[in-house]
C-alpha cells in the first residue's frame, strides 16, 4: 500500500505572525483512509484547508499525483471537502446539491441527475432527492454532504470532523459507513478529528498533529503501542509516564528507587521516560509479570465496563490503573454483600491469584495497600 497520491513537503502556513503549520511533511497513499488527529488549534484543520486550497501556504509544496497543485485555486483542484457544518445549499434540493459538483465539471443535466440518484443509493438515501436539506435529520444531512463531496469523483476526499455534529449512537454507525464507502470507491480519504477512538477504529494510518508539525505517523497499533513521544503517548489513550535512566535492560525510576524491566533491546541509552498504559497494569501479583510495585489506593471510580483506579506509590507518584469488568461488577458486589467478613484484605490482594484480580480490585477500598504488576513489554521507552 505504498502508492503515494499526495505528497506534502516542507509546508509552512502563517496566520498573521504565527505559524499554524511549520515545515510539515506528509505522504498519503492511494485509496487509504488517513486520519489527522490533534487537539484544537494543533493545525490539523489548517492542513486540510491548505490541501483544499482555502489557505495559501507561505512555503512548501503540495503535489497530487506528482503535479504541484499549490498554485491552483480551490475550484480547479481535483480534491473535494466534506465540511464540518455540511454546508449544504439550503435553497437547492438534495439531488441538486449532489449534482452541483458534476454540473460544474460540465456533465449534462440528465446524466448529473442519474449520478445524484446513484450517489444517494451509495449513502442509502434512495428517494430523498426531491427534499430540501432542512427537511432531513442531522444524520441524513451528513450523508448528503458525503454524497455531494464524492459526486465529482475527487481523487482525494477531505473530511473535516465529519462526525462531530452527530450523537453518539449515530456516530459509530456512520464511522462504519465511511469506511465502507472508502473501501468501495477506492478514493483516498483524509479525515480530521480530535476523537482518538474514532481515529483508532477507522484509520489505515494516523497522523498526529501537534503545534503545527507531524508528531507521529503510523498505523493505529504503531501509534498506540510505540508512541514516538510523551505527547503522543498521553494524547493517544492515557499513559503513566515515569522519568528515569536506563541501566542495561533495566530502567531506574527517579525517586522511586525501583528498577523496571522492559522487553530486551527496547531501551536505548537516550531513553528518559517509560510509559505504561493503565490497562496493562494488573492489580495483584502476576507471577508472569517482570515488574511490581506497591502503594495505596487513592482513587476508585466505576466506569461501567471497567474500574478506574489511582494508586499512590511511596514517593507520591500516582499510577493510573484500568481494570476491565468483563463479568460486570454485579457478581463482585453481591459477593461483598453476602460475605462482608470474607472481604479481601490488603495482604490477600497482594498475594491473590491472578484469576482473582477482578473480584479483588472490585472489592478494594480507598486507603487499602495494593500491589501492582505488569509485564516487561508493557514498558514503552520514550526519549522525547
Amino acid at each position: 500500500m505504498t502508492d503515494p497520491l499526495l505528497q506534502i513537503s516542507a509546508l509552512t502556513v502563517r496566520y498573521g505572525g504565527t505559524e499554524a503549520l511549520s515545515n510539515l511533511d506528509l505522504t498519503i497513499n492511494r485509496g487509504e483512509l488517513f486520519v489527522l488527529l490533534g487537539e484544537s488549534g494543533s493545525g490539523k484543520s489548517t492542513l486540510l484547508r491548505a490541501i483544499a486550497g482555502f489557505v495559501p501556504p507561505a512555503a512548501g509544496r503540495i503535489a497530487l499525483d506528482g503535479t504541484d497543485i499549490g498554485p491552483l485555486p480551490p475550484h480547479r483542484r481535483p480534491v473535494n471537502t466534506m465540511f464540518q457544518s455540511y454546508a449544504l445549499f439550503p435553497h437547492m434540493t438534495v439531488a441538486a446539491n449532489i449534482a452541483f459538483g458534476p454540473r460544474q465539471q460540465g456533465m449534462p443535466r440528465a446524466e448529473a441527475r442519474a449520478l445524484a440518484e446513484e450517489m444517494l443509493a451509495l449513502v442509502r438515501l434512495e428517494g430523498m432527492g426531491g427534499r430540501k436539506p432542512h427537511q432531513l435529520s442531522g444524520g441524513q444531512q451528513q450523508r448528503v454532504a458525503l454524497a455531494r463531496s464524492l459526486a465529482p469523483r475527487p481523487r482525494l476526499l477531505l473530511l473535516d470532523e465529519p462526525l462531530s455534529a452527530l450523537d453518539r449512537g449515530l456516530r459509530t454507525e456512520t464511522r462504519e459507513e465511511l469506511v465502507r464507502v472508502n473501501r468501495r470507491l477506492g478514493t483516498s480519504f483524509i479525515l480530521v478529528t480530535h476523537d482518538q477512538e474514532e481515529a483508532l477504529t477507522m484509520a489505515d494510518r494516523i497522523g498526529i498533529v501537534h503545534q503545527g508539525r507531524m508528531a507521529q505517523v503510523g498505523t493505529p497499533a504503531e501509534v498506540y503501542e510505540t508512541p514516538a513521544s510523551r505527547f503522543v503517548a498521553t494524547f493517544m489513550g492515557s499513559a503513566n509516564i515515569l522519568p528515569g535512566r536506563p541501566t542495561g535492560d533495566g530502567f531506574a525510576v527517579e525517586g522511586l528507587g525501583v528498577t523496571l524491566w522492559a522487553a530486551p533491546g527496547h531501551l536505548t541509552p537516550d531513553t528518559r521516560w517509560v510509559a505504561i498504559r493503565p490497562e496493562r497494569i494488573r492489580v495483584g501479583d502476576d507471577p508472569a509479570a517482570a515488574n511490581r510495585v506497591t502503594g495505596t489506593l487513592a482513587e476508585r471510580a466505576y466506569a461501567g465496563d471497567s474500574l478506574a483506579l489511582a494508586v499512590r506509590l511511596a514517593d507520591g507518584t500516582l499510577l493510573r490503573v484500568r481494570q476491565p469488568l468483563g463479568d460486570g461488577i454485579g457478581s463482585a458486589d453481591r459477593g461483598r454483600e453476602t460475605a462482608p467478613s470474607a472481604r479481601v484484605g490488603p495482604s490477600a490482594v497482594g498475594g491473590g491469584a491472578v484469576t482473582g484480580d477482578r473480584v479483588g480490585a472490585t472489592a478494594l477500598a480507598v486507603g487499602d495497600a495494593v500491589t501492582l504488576s505488569w509485564r516487561a513489554d508493557a514498558c514503552i521507552p520514550l526519549s522525547a
Binding site: 483544499a52 482555502f54 485555486p73 480551490p74 475550484h75 480547479r76 480534491v79 473535494n80 471537502t81 465540511f83 457544518s85 454546508a87 449544504l88 445549499f89 439550503p90 435553497h91 434540493t93 452541483f100 459538483g101 460544474q104 465539471q105 426531491g130 427534499r131 430540501k132 427537511q135 455531494r148 463531496s149 465529482p152
Partner: protein, 283 residues
C-alpha cells in the same frame, strides 16, 4: 389575563387607528367627494367621477406610468450600485464592517434638503462636476434640471435603503457555503450566481421595496433637481392639491397610487411563494 393582553394590544391598535386608518378614511372620503368652491373645497358625497377621471385621463395615466418607470430605473440603479457595496461590507474583516456601515448611513445625520441643495451646487453649470468635465475635455454639459440630475438625486437619497437590508441578508450568509461552491468546482462568478445571489433574494426584495415604493411618490427630488417636464405623479398630485385646489382629484390620485403600490409587493410575494412552493415536497 385576557383583559391585560387586550390593554397592551390597544396601544398599537390605537396608533394604527389614529395615524393610518383615520387619515386613509379621510383621503378615501375626499376622493369620493364633489369639488366645490369654499373651505374645505369639496362637498362630501359618493361620486366615482374623480377616480374615473384619474384612471382614464392620459395626463394622470402618463404621470403614473412615468413615476413607475423612474422609480423602476432608480431601484435597478440602486440595486446595481448597492449590491456590490453590501457584499463588500459583509465580506470585509469584522473590525471594518461597522465603520463602513456607518459611512453608508452617515449622510442621514444631515438634513435631506441640505444634501439636495449641495447637489444643486455640484450639478450646476458652474458646479464642481462641470468644472471637472470641462477640465477633462468632456464637458461642460447641462446637468441640473435634467432627468440625469433627478436620477442622481433619487439614487443617492435611497441607496442606504437598498444597502442595509442587503447587508443584513448577506452577512447572515454562511461563508462556508461560498467555500463549498468553490470546492465543488464553481468559479467565483458561478458560485455567486448559483449560491450567493439566490440566497440573498429576500434582501433584494426588501431593498427594492424600500426604494421603489417611496420613489414612486417622490416629489421633492424631481422638483428640486429634475426638469419641468418630469411630470411625476407626486408633482401632479401636489399641483392638483395646492395649485388647482382640487382636493377630490388629488385624493383620488393618492388612492390610485396607494392601490398600485399595494399591488406591486402583493404580486411579488405571490410570485415568490409560487417559486418557493415549486421545490416543496409533501411527506
Amino acid at each position: 389575563m385576557i383583559a391585560r393582553r387586550g390593554l397592551i394590544l390597544a396601544v398599537p391598535w390605537l396608533w394604527l387607528l389614529l395615524f393610518l386608518a383615520g387619515p386613509l378614511a379621510i383621503v378615501g372620503a375626499i376622493a369620493l367627494a364633489e369639488p366645490a368652491e369654499g373651505v374645505p373645497p369639496y362637498t362630501l358625497g359618493l361620486s366615482l367621477a374623480n377616480l374615473e377621471l384619474v384612471l382614464t385621463d392620459p395626463l394622470y395615466r402618463d404621470a403614473l406610468g412615468l413615476s413607475l418607470r423612474v422609480a423602476g430605473i432608480a431601484t435597478l440603479a440602486c440595486l446595481l450600485i448597492g449590491y456590490p457595496m453590501a457584499l463588500a461590507i459583509a465580506r470585509a474583516p469584522e473590525a471594518w464592517r461597522d465603520p463602513l456601515l456607518l459611512g453608508v448611513m452617515l449622510p442621514f445625520w444631515t438634513g435631506f434638503l441640505m444634501r439636495l441643495n449641495a447637489w444643486i451646487g455640484l450639478l450646476g453649470d458652474q458646479g464642481w462636476i462641470n468644472a471637472a468635465l470641462a477640465w477633462s475635455g468632456i464637458g461642460p454639459m447641462r446637468l441640473l434640471y435634467t432627468d440625469t440630475a433627478m436620477f442622481i438625486g433619487i439614487v443617492y437619497s435611497y441607496l442606504p435603503f437598498m444597502v442595509l437590508p442587503l447587508y443584513t441578508q448577506l452577512s447572515r450568509l454562511d461563508p462556508v457555503l461560498t467555500e463549498a461552491a468553490s470546492d465543488l468546482g464553481a468559479s467565483p462568478l458561478r458560485g455567486f450566481l448559483r449560491v450567493t445571489l439566490p440566497l440573498s433574494l429576500p434582501g433584494i426584495g426588501a431593498g427594492c421595496a424600500l426604494v421603489f415604493i417611496p420613489a414612486v411618490g417622490e416629489y421633492v427630488i424631481p422638483e428640486l433637481l429634475g426638469g419641468p417636464d418630469a411630470a411625476l405623479i407626486g408633482r401632479v398630485l401636489w399641483g392638483e392639491f395646492f395649485n388647482n385646489r382640487d382636493w377630490p382629484t388629488a385624493a383620488a390620485l393618492a388612492v390610485v397610487l396607494l392601490g398600485v403600490l399595494l399591488a406591486v409587493p402583493g404580486v411579488l410575494m405571490w410570485a415568490g411563494r409560487r417559486l418557493r412552493g415549486g421545490g416543496r415536497v409533501i411527506n
